[in-house]
Structures are given as structure tokens and as C-alpha cells.
Amino acid sequence: MDKNIKAIISDPMVDNNPITKQILGICSALAVTVKMEQAVVMSLALAFVLICSNVIISLLRKNIPGKIRIIVQLTVIASLVILIDELLKAYLYDISKQLSVFVALIITNCIIMGRAEAFAMQNNIKDAMYDGLGNAVGYGAILIIVSIFRELLGSGTLFNYSVIPSSIYLENGGWYVNNGLMLLAPGAFIILGLIVWVQRSYTKYVED
């Protein structure tokens, strides 16, 4: 693969991760990471919107009048979000009920507007697509890591399968109790903070 493309994809995964480095899209990262199932569906929905919006905006970039470029970007993004919301309601109704407003709120996710304005407006379609992919994977990876910790520690399950033997639970005569904090937003904040800490001490990145 072209070195340039490799960089476009891999950069947002770690070094320039939209969540842990740029601290964008935190709201949904906190809200939909209680269960892995939700996190995966949310990541896929965001990937769909991000890749499509990057491609469409890159395709139109030479024709979009500068004065109304943000409005055009929003129209494209909002249409894609409504589309994915309708698709989820038709094919994954239960998960779409759990994700509730957060799918619709992809519209306001700073990652998508940010990539449209900062990358897709200046680059060709192929690069824009890879940039969308890279950022979507960077976002999805963090969501899934956070949700692994939250579901395992908060509910004792992974993808709704029990992984902690039921015999060690307090109500069955054992000593173990699920950590309720993990089900609430502060639990996600703490895990996200720890991930940022681990990542920054590894990459030696310091905020200016």
C-alpha cells in the first residue's frame, strides 16, 4: 500500500486519535459504552456516516461555494445520519431503541464536521475515504475498549454472555459484586482518563 495512504489511515488510530488525542466525540463515547453490542453498532454507524460524508464532500469540494460550505457539509452529514437512523430502526430495532438519541446526535459529533472541514475539503476522494476509515477505526477502537471494561466490570458479561462464574456472586454465596459505577457516566470518564494517561505516557505526548 502507498506509504501516504498508510499514514492517513494509521495516524488517527493512535498518534492523532480523535478521542484520546483530540478529545472529540466524547459525549457519545461516554453514553453508549455500557454494553459492547451498543458500542459496536455505534462505531459502525459512525464509520458509515464519516466515510460517506468525507467521500461526498471531497467529491463536491471544487463546486461548494466557500460562503456556505459549512451548511453544505451539515446537509450532507444530517442526511446520512437520518438514513442510518432509519436503517437501524428497520433492521436492528432493539439496539436502535437502546442507542436512542445518540444515533441522531452523530450529526453534532465533532469528528465528522472536523474531518469534513479539515481534510475532505482539501483532498481527493481516495484520500478522504481512507481518512474517514482511519478516524472511524480510531473512534471505534476506543469505544470498544471502554465498553469491554464497562460491560465486564459493570455487568459481568461480554456481548451479553456471562463471563464471570455465577457461583462467586454474593447473592449465590460468593463474594463478588458487579461495580455499579461502571454503568454510570463517571465510570466511562475514569476509564477514558486512564486510557488517555496510558497512551500519553507511551507516546510521550505533552499538551502545549
Binding site: 453514553a31 471544487k62 463546486n63 461548494i64 461555494p65 466557500g66 460562503k67 456556505i68 451548511i71 453544505v72 446537509t75 450532507v76 444530517a78 442526511s79 437520518i82 438514513l83 432509519e86 436503517l87 430502526k89 428497520a90 433492521y91 430495532y93 431503541k97 436512542s100 438519541v101 454503568l183 454510570l184 457516566a185
Partner: protein, 244 residues
């Protein structure tokens, strides 16, 4: 890049036209599937409120179970059973201030309800305002028409983690086994208290109260209110058919 105003107008018109056409197309194509899902979800919640574990059932099993177990019954406002009307033909009208749903056919009000044969129960639809939204659900009574069989909510827009807890098992399980009538046969309904029911209610009142949701006082109060209001509408029928 400079563009004149005419170009700008033309460009944005084309973009919005294309986007709206695509969305309209998607919306009409997916409508049937979405409506099937909404209907299935209601059936699921009717079964859930009489204590059937729907989480492990496939859509086909839910439809089969519903068809064989649940029957519709329509009442008039005096509590008489009306036989020539089907629930699905009733037109629902929502009261904007309380969120209560009233059902009409040819300008006459009717009350839809459901009967389950196994376990034998009487189910009514409930709806009313919480904090941000109208909550929709079902409330089931055992065959004595006094003991609560269960409650479930299939639609609401309350804050997840706060008012949204109404859809959680811990909240709904608290209703099971409570009584809606007191010893002098008055309809008390079930009150969602502020805090733990055991701490704030006397032992007599405990049978009519459940734990509130912390951080969601208004949602809790809303549930108490609309549950009572909806039960009052069915009181004539319940009074006539309950066992003492």
C-alpha cells in the same frame, strides 16, 4: 474560490433537493419493516408485563405466543364489554397536557384492554407525561383484578440512567404483587414514592407503594399519576369483575 449569488442559490437548492428525495425514498421503503418492529415491540411488552421472559424468544416465538395467549377485549366507559368492536379500529387521541390516550370510534369513547390466558391476567395500556416525554406502557393485573402482575414500558424519552430507569427490571419488578385496592375497596393504585418505599411508607401503605428512582422525582410522580388516572377509567369494569 469566488462564486456569484445565483450559483450559490442553485447549488444549495440542488443539494437539498437531492438529499430530501433520497431520504423520502428511504423512509417510504423502510416504513413497513419499521412498523412491523414497533408492533412486535408492543406485543413483546404485553407479554413481558405478565411475566413472560421475552428476552430469550425469537420474533416468531413472540408472535406465536401472543396469538395463542392474548385476546383483545373492548369496554365502553361504563365498564361493559363491547363485542362488535376491535381494538385496532379505535382511533387514539392524546390529551396534550396529561399525555393520557383516549380511544374513540364514531365519536364514542371506548377502553381497549387485553386478556391473557396463561397466566390469567387483565392488561391495560397506560400512557402519561414524565419529565420530558410521554411514557407508553402496559399494566397487568392478576385474575383477582387487585394484585399487580407486572408493568412494562415500550416507549419514552426520559433521560437514560435517570427517568429512563422505568424500563429497567429492578423498577418494574417492584410492582409485582402490590395491590391497587385498600381494605375498604377504594382504588388506591400504586404510588412511586421518593426514596425507598420501606423507609417512607407505613406498613399498611407499603402494599400500594414502590421505590422511587433517585434523580428522577418528576418521572416517578408522573408514573404514579397517570397509572392512577388510567386505572380509574377501568374501575367500573374492575369493580364488577374483581374477586374479594
Amino acid at each position: 474560490m469566488q462564486h456569484n449569488n445565483l450559483y450559490t442559490f442553485r447549488f444549495i437548492s440542488i443539494i437539498t433537493l437531492v438529499a430530501s428525495l433520497l431520504l423520502a425514498l428511504a423512509s417510504t421503503q423502510l416504513k413497513e419493516l419499521q412498523e412491523f418492529n414497533i408492533d412486535l415491540d408492543k406485543k413483546k411488552n404485553i407479554l413481558k408485563c405478565i411475566g413472560i421472559d421475552v428476552a430469550i424468544m425469537t420474533p416468531d416465538m413472540i408472535i406465536d405466543e401472543y396469538e395463542s395467549n392474548i385476546s383483545n377485549i373492548t369496554l365502553n366507559t361504563n365498564g361493559d364489554v363491547v363485542t362488535n368492536i376491535e381494538n385496532k379500529n379505535l382511533k387514539s387521541v392524546q390529551n396534550k397536557s396529561t399525555g393520557q390516550i383516549q380511544y374513540y370510534l364514531d365519536n364514542i369513547e371506548y377502553l381497549p384492554a387485553y386478556k391473557a390466558s396463561n397466566p390469567e391476567s387483565f392488561i391495560i395500556p397506560i400512557a402519561g407525561k414524565g419529565l420530558w416525554s410521554t411514557l407508553f406502557g402496559y399494566f397487568a393485573l392478576e385474575k383477582d383484578l387487585n394484585t399487580v402482575k407486572g408493568i412494562s414500558f415500550y416507549k419514552h424519552g426520559e433521560t437514560p440512567g435517570l427517568g429512563g430507569e422505568v424500563e429497567k427490571k429492578w423498577f418494574q419488578d417492584n410492582f409485582i404483587g402490590k395491590k391497587i385496592f385498600n381494605s375498604s375497596a377504594e382504588l388506591i393504585s400504586i404510588k412511586v414514592v421518593k426514596g425507598k418505599a420501606g423507609d417512607v411508607l407505613s406498613s399498611d401503605a407499603l402494599i400500594h407503594g414502590v421505590d422511587g428512582i433517585s434523580g428522577a422525582t418528576i418521572t416517578s410522580r408522573g408514573v404514579s399519576e397517570f397509572l392512577k388516572n388510567d386505572l380509574l377509567r377501568y374501575e367500573p369494569y374492575i369493580n364488577r369483575n374483581k374477586s374479594n
